[in-house]
């Protein structure tokens, strides 16, 4: 394929699942009508959810899920060694994500509650960047297919992708949504990275911060605002810690 006279290489891609719901991988497999174009652009050599190929010659690795076991650590390190570019994909890989909720309890209690007396090997929840160097973080819970395709185009062109630095409010206001904070709902939109088209506030859920913090977000001001609006410390902490996107923001963390 050529673009502006420049021959584009067809990079080999691997998609790997770790601890998570695999929803982000499903997003890649979604929108079938575009899959052919996607496969023309990149060669998928290792992606359990859609193909039985298990080649190890991938150049770009997409990591779905967080890291919880020793075997996952070893596997991730091996992938890192092979991949020229490693992309952490989705809230679990980028932040720890929903899985991190269990970090609030003692690990042995969690294991007993879920698995009863079965032996299970699991450790603390870690985001990918806690274990290996991450080149690109593709945010979202789940990731969005259009944004994934946008990223792939950048990877094929060899251009560093620039994710929005600004918060969700920009997109929310552009969609003429009512501000859910005005309506009495909790929302982390003012400190969360945009790019989701404000899908949660649009559906009157308030933002949960799945895309991680916007750049130079003013947490202090937002938390002050939430307090003034009458949200309890507990309620604020519950929301702020949900995706593990804002660690260190609350005084109680320090």
């Amino acid at each position: 394929m050529k673009y502006l006279g420049i021959t584009l290489e067809r990079p080999k891609i691997g998609v790997f699942d770790f601890t998570g719901c695999e929803g982000c991988q499903l997003q890649i497999a979604n929108k079938e009508e575009d899959l052919k174009d996607l496969f023309d652009l990149v060669e998928i050599v290792n992606f359990r959810e859609i193909s039985s190929d298990r080649r190890e010659d991938y150049e770009i690795a997409f990591i779905d899920g967080c890291i919880t076991t020793d075997s996952e650590v070893a596997r991730l390190k091996k992938i890192r060694k092979q991949a020229g570019i490693l992309v952490a994909m989705g809230a679990c890989a980028c932040l720890g994500g929903v899985n991190n909720l269990r970090s609030r309890f003692s690990l042995s209690d969690v294991i007993r509650e879920v698995y009863d007396r079965h032996h299970i090997n699991t450790g603390p929840v870690r985001k990918v960047a806690d274990v290996v160097h991450v080149d690109i973080e593709l945010p979202g819970c789940p990731i969005s297919k259009p944004e994934f395709e946008w990223l792939v185009r950048h990877l094929v062109l060899g251009i560093e992708p620039q994710f929005p630095k600004y918060p969700v409010c920009v997109e929310c206001k552009q969609r003429l949504n009512s501000c859910v904070l005005d309506m009495g709902l909790m929302c982390l939109g003012p400190v969360t990275r945009a790019g989701c088209n404000a899908v949660c506030p649009r559906n009157r859920l308030g933002c949960w911060g799945c895309r991680g913090p916007s750049e130079e977000a003013n947490f202090e001001s937002l938390i002050e605002i939430l307090r003034e609006k009458g949200f309890t410390e507990e309620h604020i902490a519950e929301r702020v810690k949900f995706f593990n996107a804002f660690s260190g923001v609350l005084n109680s963390d320090r």
């Binding site: 206001k173 003429l176 009512s178 130079e216 605002i225």
Partner: protein, 347 residues
Amino acid sequence: MLFKTITKENFKKMVEGLLEENEVIGPRSRDQDLGGNKIYRFLKINSFEELEMDYTRSYSSPKNYFLPFEEDLATYRLNDKDWEQEIRYTIHPRVIIGMRACDINALLKLDQVMLKSVYPNPYYFARRRNTLIIGLDHEPLEDCFCRSMNTDTVFHGFGLFLTDIGDRYFVAINSDTAYIILNQFDAREVTEEDQERYKTVKKQIESKFKTQVDITILPELMDLEFESEIWKKWGHKCLSCGSCAMVCPTCYCYGIEEDTNLTFTKATKRRFLYSCNLLDFAAVARGHNFRPDAHIRLKYRYYHKFRGFVEAFSQSLCVGCNRCGKACLAGISPKAVIDDLIKTEKK
């Protein structure tokens, strides 16, 4: 200017007639805030009943019907190394009902930039030319300070402008299209009684302004207080979220992005509304940011509104609607900031 009156009954018929032939935009409410107040916005209306003529203020201004938040400036067909550019200006006739004097004045200010200054903006021009505006007077809200900004009345930039005088609307007529439409609904000549009632209503409106903002020496103050601590004070609260610019009827700063489809056969050049409060507004390719701090960006927004625009067009780029003040979660409003500036000056 020509004036007529139309009964509310006939106005309803007129709107229904317009609805049959055109897309009609008007104020509608969808949600309520915590205090039980309706939250209004300018949306497409499908029947006269959806149009809320007693609305207070739309959360966001209707500027997006002239300057959309996102629009394609050009598309390209790509083919190996060659390409063809295509440009089509959107021609979409429509009616907007219920715009306030401040919002129409805001358009007149945008006209200065988009039509009357160098490099006219054809995309804006196409929308402006194909939109019939039916304005609507209202009693000022607590925080309206359009009077201070001299934008509480409007004399052009619309088709019709309505003032409620009881069972009728007093109508200022400003375009032939509007004149033709109005005359099809038994609009009658203004009687002496109509005129008296109009005067009374106008006086009442005038008497209800509560918020004043002193802009007498504001342009100078912007320079004199350029290093003032008050910018830091407000900047500290600022979320740099751009909400103010999005809801503002006059903020027009934008960015341009280009992208291709997955097969690199098509490309688009897209304009998207940006805000000078956003972190990377003035960042350059090498990573240098000319406005790295929230307070500096906040200051520049005010500087553009109350100093830069005055210098260029002898008027400020604010119409006193206080939508930014309402939308700002951190409570930053022009009134509060300007009062602070004036106070600092007096010290």
